[in-house]
Each structure stands twice: as structure tokens, then as C-alpha cells.
Subunit: 105 residues, 2 copies
Amino acid sequence: MKQVNVYDENDFSEKAFKRLLVHDSPYFKILNFNFKAGQELPVHSHEIEGQVSLIVLEGEGEFLGKDDATLPAKTGDVLISEIAEPHGIRAKTDLRLLVTIAPPI
Amino acid sequence: MKQVNVYDENDFSEKAFKRLLVHDSPYFKILNFNFKAGQELPVHSHEIEGQVSLIVLEGEGEFLGKDDATLPAKTGDVLISEIAEPHGIRAKTDLRLLVTIAPPI
């Protein structure tokens, strides 16, 4: 077993979002991103098989998709996307995000 | 893309913990469990390859392991366990948990 507290281990920066690698294994990769209000993870995608989950631990913002599409994002939201499908997030308040990628890339 | 808010879609019950299937695909299975204080997901394991992540969205409690081992659990904790390794959780306060299993079982 392995335990990481992402509130304790990762913080926020006015310069850019902060990224913490929580776990990487043959089964999945888990990352925590902390965004100050206004920061974003730009829309991106990779041409590989698999899915990614974006979990909003805390905060409000918008999920970003293809062709400038947006979806409201708030605490407790789980977004599932194909890795090959464009996805991203923009923070309106300080926002903590947990991302799980399976299989890992 | 698929979006589920586990705060909106799942609630608590005094009778037993509440389970919500958030997502199931060939890549991972995602479940939300809500525990009232005192409720628990007993220690269990399955003899298959893979890993499971337990994310405490909100609340305090104890992760449960082999031979009555416990680890403090609080908001923002991510616990990684082999699926074959005994794992569980007990809530000390009302607690929201997100579980990701890869590959899905």
C-alpha cells in the first residue's frame, strides 16, 4: 500500500499550475494539478487507446473540449474522456484536480 | 465525454453505505461510496492482477489493511493498493470516497 495526501504534498503557485505525480504503474497513472483562479490545463489529446478521469477535489471552473466547448466544473465532478478526445480544464477559483490515466502514458 | 457529480448523484444513509457506479469501461471502473460516521467497507481482496486507488474526497477515517492494520485517512488522501492486497476503510465522520479499479473487475 502507498498513501499520498495531495493537500499536504502539493501547493499552489501564482506563476503556473502545480503538478504532482501521485502514482505510476502498469495499470494507471495518477496526477494532481493545483490551479490558481484563471490558470488552465489547455485542451490536449494523444492518439492512443485508453481513458482519463478528471476529478475536481475542490473548486470551480470549466472543463474544456473540442472546438472551444466548455462544461461547468465543480467540486465532486468526475469527467471521463478518451485519451484521444480533446480535454482540458480552466479554473475560476483555486482548484484541485486529480487525474487518472489508464493505461498510463 | 461523460460527466457525473458524485455530490449531486449519491447521498448518505443511516442503514448502510451508499454505492454509486460512476463509470465502467475496459480501462477502469470508478465507484463512489458514501459512509456515515461509523460505517465501513470491510477489508477485502481479489486474487487478480491490477491496482485500486481510494481517494478521500471529504471526511476522516481509517484505511484498513491486512492483520487489522490501520492508517489514518483524511480529505485529499490517495491510497494505492494491489487488488490482491487486503484493503478497506472505516469512517469516523461522514466520508465520501472515490474508488478506481484498473483493470476493471
